[in-house]
Symmetry: C2
Subunit: 489 residues, 2 copies
Amino acid sequence: MTTHSAQTTTIIPKLRDLLPAHAVLATNEELRPYECDGLSAYRQVPLVVVLPENVEQVQAVVRLCYRHGVPIVARGAGTGLSGGALPLANGVLLSLAKLNRIIEIDLHNRSARVEPGVRNLAISQAAAPHGLYYAPDPSSQIACSIGGNVAENSGGVHCLKYGLTVHNILKLKVVLADGEIVTLGSDACDSAGYDLLALFTGSEGLLGIVVEVTVRLLPKPERTQVLLAAYASVAAAGQTVSTIIGAGIIPAGLEMMDQLAIRAAEDFVHVGYPTDAAAILLCEVDGTNEEVSEHVATIRNIMLAQGATTVRTAIDDQESALLWKGRKAAFPAVGRLAPDYYCMDGTIPRRCLPQVLDEIEHLSKEYDLRVANVFHAGDGNLHPLILYDANRSGELHRAEQFGARILELCVRVGGTITGEHGVGIEKLDAMCVMFQPTELTQFFSVKNAFDPHGLLNPGKAIPSLHRCAELGAMHVHRGQVPFPDIERF
Amino acid sequence: MTTHSAQTTTIIPKLRDLLPAHAVLATNEELRPYECDGLSAYRQVPLVVVLPENVEQVQAVVRLCYRHGVPIVARGAGTGLSGGALPLANGVLLSLAKLNRIIEIDLHNRSARVEPGVRNLAISQAAAPHGLYYAPDPSSQIACSIGGNVAENSGGVHCLKYGLTVHNILKLKVVLADGEIVTLGSDACDSAGYDLLALFTGSEGLLGIVVEVTVRLLPKPERTQVLLAAYASVAAAGQTVSTIIGAGIIPAGLEMMDQLAIRAAEDFVHVGYPTDAAAILLCEVDGTNEEVSEHVATIRNIMLAQGATTVRTAIDDQESALLWKGRKAAFPAVGRLAPDYYCMDGTIPRRCLPQVLDEIEHLSKEYDLRVANVFHAGDGNLHPLILYDANRSGELHRAEQFGARILELCVRVGGTITGEHGVGIEKLDAMCVMFQPTELTQFFSVKNAFDPHGLLNPGKAIPSLHRCAELGAMHVHRGQVPFPDIERF
């Protein structure tokens, strides 16, 4: 058991003074469900969990922790994949789950004002009767909450055309480290002063706690159509992606799956994917009726010209849904191939797709671990799934090394170490590769500008210079690529 | 004459040690051209002007000033309209004009890497042979530089569809207050860590000095078509704007002009605008051939259904250019109606257009000053031009009061005090109305995180709490709307 200082243990009765009895969880049984988020390789039981029911209670908790120097980790739905909501043994885990009201849908301004615990999909469901929807659609959209989406700047299949979370929110109400409330952004399309709305989005809970989000809503497109193209080589599929975008068409979604992923998905959901293909592309086009017809024809021609062996165009919504079904089931499907998998998330310039996929193939042989590729090809956001068995000695270690090499590769071609899953606890070392000390120092200054006592989600997202220096020293000794094992928290 | 401290006057010989002789200007004759930017109501001769020719020289100047505590105002082309580049009597005016190379055009990644002094239009011209262009197009695009565009987060006619500067840049190289260089953003579509790229964009020279910009390039659309619709009322034109966007069409540009602006433009460039109309809309649609045809048909129907008295569709590029010509000449055309005009810049939620234009009309009568409206209707970015004669006693004062009332109106309906011109020196008081002390305090913290000694463009963009408090106190005494005269710098 962790020993707590008097400071942290006396915080529990003080929290009970502020909140209803059911809103403070402190028994081991109550705490256990909060020990990890979607990245379950990292686990830590928090000191205490609080579930405030309104903004005032959030403020009261934050103020109390500020006075007593107790760290806080905020948590949305806990679907994050980089350990951003991993608790601290000496800290408060502040769940926003009870702040789950849709406050207002403003049809004139095409926006919705919601609390952070509202599920991503629930916003679109509430907007549907008005012909509107919220565009960013992470795979976890049934479960994940909008507050978590803001913290991670989440993307999804449709962010190629419609942008990330930051492009789809107008305004945030935020509780700062000292309990003060600020409003960032405005209801209009721009805001004066520094762009703190953009700065805050994707800051992984280190700068403040979101208590209200105003999102943009978009009109549902008149028509949507899905194409599936099969290829005898991954390179040809990659080239097709560049050519479609190069033709000035931005599809609503443009996804690639390689053979291992295709076979796993087909085996799992039986949607008729061509299991002999080296790669498939799934392309969704949306817009007005005419526009969709024209784009589908153009894309079909490009696919064939780039060597697609078959191109299938969904004839109705039902067939479109079927073609998507395999992609949507790809992660669990791949999960059936091996006891464990490690889902990577890196972004590269689109033109480097064939080269990077080829190098991943080589690394797969080098580490003797299979890898399935399922990803947002249109925006160059890779999701290699490294298959391993944690019960076989050394495999987890090899998987992590392999993953680190993939990230290093992303950085080398001008990309970045996370597309949409965030840094959290998982990618702290990769941040040392990505950034110079001057840039990290600037990150610390920004953190300090919001949270001078370092109480909000400490130890996440931005590595210390000390950690990076140690990592750097190791490289010099070993003369290797800069990714040793990822430290355990 | 301003008296300079020993500290600041000894900086000139030190600058001469660092830079070529022709790169340090210090005589009154040399300094005079730099005394103002596009907002010529504010003038101040700087202590010295430097024109570094490369990044190393910029760094050397910034390091020197850092060591000696001398403030720096960076300046691009000097076309800014809010006095953001107004010099300081005791400071260095650092012009980026000599850093004007287009370093690289990357066709695969569809981006251009350029120095900050490159003119906005020069980027599109360099990209044109490859069928690409840079989308944001401020009215001043012939003259304004990309570094200034980044500082102000500039928009333009096409930002309705293609976004502001922040949506069209990938990466920045920045010299910080202490002379260190950081790279913000990446060549891929997302970057890890806090979004300092977005934070920096629009920060008006307060956080660092841009020395390299990587911009996104877009493929030139296959076809572009312009429609002009005339209306008997401003409200009907405003309603048309909402209806077009509500139909799910995002035109490339959607501009409105009122009668005074129409007549001034027609008188000036004779393009055949209907001078009896209360308002006209100019709508540009771009995309593939089919898409444009369909959108033009839909928009035409909407315009007629909303009561347009005439709708004219340009039959070729020449006619399109002609229709735009009046809009592009509108500012100088209005300039012929009165000795002076005061160009306002505020943004409102689109749905409030008719109401706000109506209130501006009332204010025009109250202040007995004519106002011409020429603006980006599609994104709710107003540019009322208040006509006055500075030589008639009290008119400038009335114009400023009128302008302040317009901004207050923008804030009241949920908008903001600047769409694209920035705060600079002009709108410091308006910032006090827009933001609470908690938000301003957060802005100060962010500034401090980048520039702890306050040497970069001090006195601009973010007002002091003291200034806001004084302003607030005045209101309490007078019981007026919160905009007294804008203080002179």
